[in-house]
């Protein structure tokens, strides 16, 4: 009996000691991000700074994973097996899949309990993360298209060294910038590339013009396609005509990023993540401006990086929100990576205005339009790309392409 008591009490003391040690350990957090580009290095620095400031309390491990289907699958598996990351970056197009597994708050909870200035967030992005009065994610930054232009090319062509602002100017620029420099009969400098390289840009340029024309991708109830419309058709026709009618874009797909970098292309639309890459290119004299109004109104396609916090233990959730708030409050640092913050106070600050290129992107914040949130988006985009490819290659005319695409999208939406 005494022997039992002795070992029992030793055991108890040990357990108490160990748990005391465990309690003193900092909370471990996994932070999953898709920042595989140069912006990843910036995020690493920010996370290191956070860990320094919160030494002993919270320790964040940054994960940089390739985005796309695998990223979402990994997250789904992690949630299913009960080991989700503390904070995960998701796009508005993906995060709604996980709504049931994410922590949400009311506006008041965020302000009162966590001191997060919710009203400081740009309103259209806050709308994108609010459902039934609950906020499901803390936005980190947003991105949209901007028009990159080669200043040297513009000057050489006798154009004003600024971006075109509307359709007339755009066409004038594109025509003057498409040049056969060495007179060998083949064009060495193009005004535009309508397709090629990263396939999503092909969609994004079309979305922008579709939205500018006042059109929409899907019906309100998301049961049918709405892009087979005059707005959609004229948008696709515009880019197709640049190739086949105007001759200012090459008839075969080629990567505009590469081409712009080496001076073979004068104008192209892209996201803010290219800023640092182009800055590093020696001899490239470039600038960026808001996307011209090629349609009726000023709108631009956009997407965002949302910080989502999967449901987990209270202390991990607490730590996760601390991280999210810190990153948001410090998003000026993140802007230097070539991103656009969504905190109005930061966007309106002097320091941010000093980041000229990001500032140009941020000018578009008030009229960034996001895509409808639907589970079938990836499939729909794949169908659109397939038919648009055919239209760009001249195998189908734009109207036909959109008609077939709409038929298939209707079919997809009907089945699920």
């Amino acid at each position: 009996m005494t022997k039992w008591l002795k070992s029992l009490s030793t055991g108890l003391v040990l357990v108490l000691l160990l748990s005391a040690v465990a309690l003193a350990e900092p909370v471990q957090l996994q932070f999953w991000t898709p920042f595989t580009g140069p912006d990843g290095a910036y995020m690493e620095r920010m996370v290191d700074k956070f860990n320094e400031e919160h030494a002993g309390e919270i320790e964040v491990e940054l994960f940089i994973l390739a985005g796309g289907a695998d990223y979402i699958t990994k997250l789904a598996l992690a949630i299913r097996t009960g080991a989700p990351p503390g904070v995960v970056i998701l796009s508005p197009n993906d995060y709604f899949r996980f709504l049931d597994s994410l922590t949400s708050w009311t506006r008041e909870e965020l302000i009162d309990q966590y001191g997060l200035d919710v009203d400081d967030f740009s309103s259209n992005i806050l709308d994108a993360v609010t459902r039934d009065g609950k906020i499901y994610a803390i936005p980190l930054g947003t991105y949209c298209l901007g028009l990159y232009y080669n200043i040297d090319h513009l000057v050489e062509a006798g154009l004003e060294p600024r971006a075109p602002r509307d359709m007339t100017e755009f066409l004038e620029y594109a025509r003057k910038l498409t040049v056969d420099k060495d007179g060998d009969g083949s064009i060495d400098q193009w005004g535009w590339y309508s397709f090629g390289g990263w396939p999503f840009r092909v969609l994004w340029q079309w979305y922008t013009l579709l939205f500018q024309n006042g059109g929409s991708l899907l019906s309100e109830d998301q049961r049918s396609a709405e892009f087979y419309s005059p707005e959609g058709m004229s948008a696709l026709e515009f880019y197709v005509d640049l190739i086949h009618k105007e001759g200012v874009a090459p008839p075969d797909p080629a990567d505009p990023e590469e081409a712009f970098r080496v001076g073979m292309l004068s104008l192209h639309v892209n996201g803010p993540w290219m800023i640092n890459l182009f800055k590093e290119q020696p001899g490239l004299n470039w600038a960026v401006a808001p996307v011209p109004v090629l349609g009726e109104k000023q709108v631009v396609w956009g997407d965002a990086h949302l910080m989502c916090i999967p449901k987990q233990s209270p202390e991990t959730t607490e730590a996760a929100i601390t991280l999210a708030k810190w990153l948001s409050d410090n998003s000026l640092e993140w802007a230097k990576a070539g991103q656009v913050p969504v905190r109005n106070s930061i966007v309106e600050s002097e320091e941010f205005a000093a980041l000229t290129e990001q500032y140009e992107f941020a000018k578009q914040l008030p009229y960034v339009q996001f895509l409808p949130q639907t589970e079938r988006l990836a499939e729909i985009e794949s169908v659109l790309l397939e038919y648009m490819d055919a239209a760009y290659l001249g195998d189908m005319d734009p109207e036909e392409a959109l008609e077939y695409a709409a038929e298939e999208v209707d079919d997809i939406l009907r089945r699920r």
């Binding site: 796309g68 289907a69 695998d70 979402i72 699958t73 789904a76 598996l77 949630i79 299913r80 899949r97 996980f98 049931d100 597994s101 090629g196 396939p199 090459p250 075969d252 797909p253 080629a254 990567d255 590469e258 081409a259 080496v262 073979m264 589970e375 079938r376 990836a378 499939e379 794949s382 790309l385 397939e386 038919y387 490819d389 055919a390 290659l393 195998d395 298939e408 079919d411 089945r415 699920r416």
Partner: protein, 305 residues
Amino acid sequence: MVQSAVKGMWEPMAVKKKRRDLTPFFFILPFMVFFVVFILIPLVHGLILSFQEWSLLGEPIFVGLENYIELLSIRRFKAAVENTLKFAVQSVPLLLIVPLLLALLLNKKFVGQRLAQNAIISPFLIPSSSVLLLWIWMLDTQTGMINQAFKALGLPNQAWLSRQGSAMGVIVFVTLWWTAGYNIILYLSSLQDLPQDLYEAASVDGANGWDQFWHITLPLLRNRMLFITTLQIIASFKLFDQVYILTGGGPAGSTRTLAFYLYETGFRDFMFGRAAAVSWYMFIMIAIFGLLQAKLLTRWLGEGV
């Protein structure tokens, strides 16, 4: 008393029955574990999954044959079947014959034989991602090495991977370049086992190189060719890497194969039940083609296989 007497009577016979030797079992145990965990269980799970609807988050729902029936009316699935067959029809004969010719060549002694063997065979040892990334850079329409070379020779730029006509052809060619080595090794090992006295006797009888090839080499390679054809058919039905990296299913879906469609359905669209049904359709197709070709090829290459 009676018991012990009876026991004594039976004991010698009990001793004759040796305890079953379990040693062989332990030798195959590691492989059996691997097989059950990574092949058998997923196989059965996949079959069950094909009768369910599951998006990874949430519980699977039983839907019976719905996935199988749905697929038959989905345009992309039918296109994927067509594209897979197109690829198989082009690549299987090529990967049967070209490696044979190369193996015959590499079997002869010449200066640089070793170097040629290594150079021609080794691509198959390089992992797909490295090989394909290399090719996609080389094939780029504006900045790729191949078109630069064409330009230098005065030939027009080709849009290798973005024209519906050439994209599949390019995939076939890259596959041939990459995987021929494996078949060449199989052929070389067979060729090197061929009895030389048959050839000596033949040349004494006045048979030339072609006759010797047609009447001696080929018949003796029958088994090997059957084996390679079977492997090749199975491999071509599973084409994925090249599509994923070189074309993403394009242009205009002309290179979307069944394996790629399966990947999209499961991992991009999160419809795992339907994806599982695709995989079982693939199994049925491979089984049918495999059996067909075994019967036909056996008959064509002669009896005694």
